[in-house]
């Protein structure tokens, strides 16, 4: 139930009820999303959406930083392991 998925905000408008809404792209599917709780969001931003409401902006820098840290994990150990000698022959 707490499913929330990231979508890219395409254009922002105010609907007939006076709510700040956005056309949002979820991997090719476009849905209308309420931005009342994310006033800072502008087109091009990624938002995390739950039952039609953007609950927060996805922080792209933070995402890149943690992902890079994960990818680096274990690399320092690998530096300590003896390198496999390249014999030039793939079936040895």
């Amino acid at each position: 139930m707490c499913l929330a998925i990231p979508g890219k905000v395409m254009e922002v408008h105010t609907d007939e009820q006076g709510l700040r809404m956005a056309k949002t792209n979820f991997g090719g599917i476009i849905k209308s999303v309420c931005l009342e709780y994310t006033p800072e969001v502008v087109p091009g931003d990624y938002v995390l959406v739950h039952v039609g409401f953007a609950l927060g902006k996805v922080d792209e820098e933070e995402a890149a930083r943690t992902y890079a840290a994960l990818e680096r994990m274990g690399q320092l150990d690998e530096l300590n392991e003896p390198a496999i000698e390249d014999t030039g022959y793939p079936y040895s």
């Binding site: 139930m1 929330a4 998925i5 009820q17 609950l55 927060g56 943690t66």
Partner: protein, 376 residues
């Protein structure tokens, strides 16, 4: 999709699993709080990639599963009325009450509609002025901002024929209840990433300090869950008990302030009954008195409902992480997604339904057959 696909990278998941293997020296029991996490874990087989000593038990974070039978019976009582259009999230439709479920009522002519967002109900209410439109407002903190907005807008726009049957639940009191139980085995939590997107994780700090358990706020994709598990085991192995944030791409310590503000204007904290668990003090939201006009519990006569839980169902113990779905004698036999006895078998996020959907009951049957075939 961006921010989803890269967190399903199997090579990265295995790399984290290797690191987890390297650092684990003894048996640890972690609970993933959220039903969405349970679903991911069983779907991707994450529990099978973990070191044998790291055990995941499944938490209470499925709102459909924990909504009390009494509340479901109340919903059915309202939905049966001829003057009502009853609106609900789709996953609530097949949850069995004492007598029926919403789909059965619909087949008998009740006007029951599935909505994607609670604010959709306002449009239905405007288009049907002669009807009373009632929304079954269930959910954890994640869903509260959307439900609060529906009540707020109904009052602001004067939509008098809209009301909500509110059965909101809150995570931190449930964690306290699990940790205080004498049979508790949980030593650390993967915290609910989307709940914390809304409310932040400040409230989890006293829980972690008081019960000396690590709580790692964790996302929902395989890489997130694996990393959250690694962070929690690292803490346990080094004797720490802190709140850490695995999900900083969406979660901040303070949460979403505009959302917290509106939720506080519409709802107030109340005691709440959890299905299979019982009443937990200060563990839910109800509408504030200013919203009485939109409060279905005040508007409809709901007395005299006789609620009975099926005796065979152990969903309460499953929800508290005390038992696993396959420990239930009814699992996969008397109780299946087609004929669920309890809510943990109904919602896709319920632990029993997840075990069933991904064939865990078949593995168990095979294991049982292998076991019995080697016996003389």
């Amino acid at each position: 999709m961006k921010f989803m696909d890269e967190y399903r990278d199997s090579a990265l998941v295995r790399k984290i699993a290797d690191e987890l293997q390297r650092i684990t020296t003894r048996h640890w029991v972690l609970m993933e709080v959220c039903g969405g996490q349970t679903h991911s874990i069983v779907k991707y087989g994450i529990d099978r990639l973990l070191p044998e000593q790291v055990e995941l038990v499944h938490g209470p974070g499925c709102p459909v599963c924990v909504t009390s039978l009494e509340m479901i019976d109340k919903a059915h009582e309202i939905a049966r009325r001829r003057d009502v259009i009853f609106c609900s999230f789709g996953d609530m439709l097949r949850v069995p009450g004492t007598k029926d479920d919403l789909l059965i009522l619909k087949s008998r002519g009740a006007d029951i509609r599935v909505v994607y967002s609670p604010t959709d109900c306002l449009k239905i209410a405007r288009e049907n002025p002669a009807k009373r439109v009632v929304f079954f407002a269930i959910g954890f903190e994640t869903t509260a901002p959307a439900n609060a907005m529906a009540a707020w807008q109904a009052r602001r726009q004067g939509i008098h024929n809209f009301s909500m049957l509110v059965s909101h639940v809150l995570v931190p009191p449930a964690l306290r209840s699990i940790l205080s139980a004498p049979e508790n085995r949980v030593q650390g939590f993967l915290g609910p990433g989307h709940v914390c997107t809304v409310v932040g994780y400040r409230e989890y700090e006293p829980v972690s300090a008081e019960f000396k358990v690590p709580i790692v706020i964790t996302g929902f994709e395989p890489v997130d869950i694996m990393e959250g598990t690694l962070m929690a085991v690292r803490q346990l192995e080094s004797g720490k008990a802190e709140v850490e944030n695995q999900y900083p791409r969406v979660v901040g310590r303070e949460g979403n302030l505009p959302a917290i503000d509106l939720v506080g204007k519409v709802f107030e904290v109340c005691d709440r009954k959890w299905r299979g668990v019982g009443e937990i003090p200060a563990s839910g939201y109800r509408l504030r008195p200013e919203f009485a006009e939109h409060d279905a519990e005040r508007l409809f006569d709901l007395h005299g409902i006789d609620t009975k839980e099926p005796a065979e169902c152990i969903s309460g113990l499953v929800l508290q992480g005390v038992r696993k779905p396959h420990n239930c004698p009814a699992f996969g036999k008397l109780c299946t997604p087609e004929h669920p006895l309890g809510a943990t078998m109904v919602s896709a996020e319920g632990a029993c339904a997840a075990y069933y959907a991904y064939g865990r009951h078949l593995d168990l049957t095979k294991a049982h057959a292998a076991q019995t075939s080697v016996q003389p």
